[in-house]
Symmetry: C2
Subunit: 93 residues, 2 copies
């Protein structure tokens, strides 16, 4: 199993992401899943990690690692923009 | 110096928080500073950590630890509510 079963958080319904995380561990048998989010979706990424780990997969997974970083890119007006990112890795106990 | 120089992120102007973090390390001589945020302010907390560490205190501090957790409390309507939290600890190099 590849080490990066990544779930990217956007503005789909909240439970879509929780279900995706839970299914990676259950039906897909993943050993670890990484939740990735940028900018305003970071809060949502943390919510999804917390609800997945503490409500749906309680005693089955834990937070192994959290990384934050910045990405720089040019927006439509050709301006340099910085956005924060987060990666939360959940691992099977 | 106490280990928990905590800065709580709310809806004051963004640069107030960055300045508070930077001043803890510079004029207050702190060895470490913890940025704490809850709910929708989590994204902001990550932005403040990133900008403090990578723009204002570049090569001077690094992210030592990031913790996420959940808090439960009763809201005004006496309903049990869950909110995610983050703590980002920056440390002097």
């Amino acid at each position: 199993m590849a080490a990066d079963n990544a779930i990217y958080i956007g503005n789909k319904p909240f439970m879509n992401y929780v279900t995706a995380v839970v299914m990676q561990f259950t039906t897909q048998g993943a050993e670890e899943v990484t939740i990735k989010a940028r900018g305003k979706f970071i809060s949502r990424g943390v919510d999804i990690a917390e609800i997945s780990a503490k409500r749906f997969l309680i005693d089955q997974v834990y937070v192994k690692e959290i990384k934050i970083d910045s990405e720089e890119f040019k927006n439509k007006e050709d301006r340099q923009v910085r956005v924060s990112t987060i990666e939360i890795t959940l691992v099977k106990k």
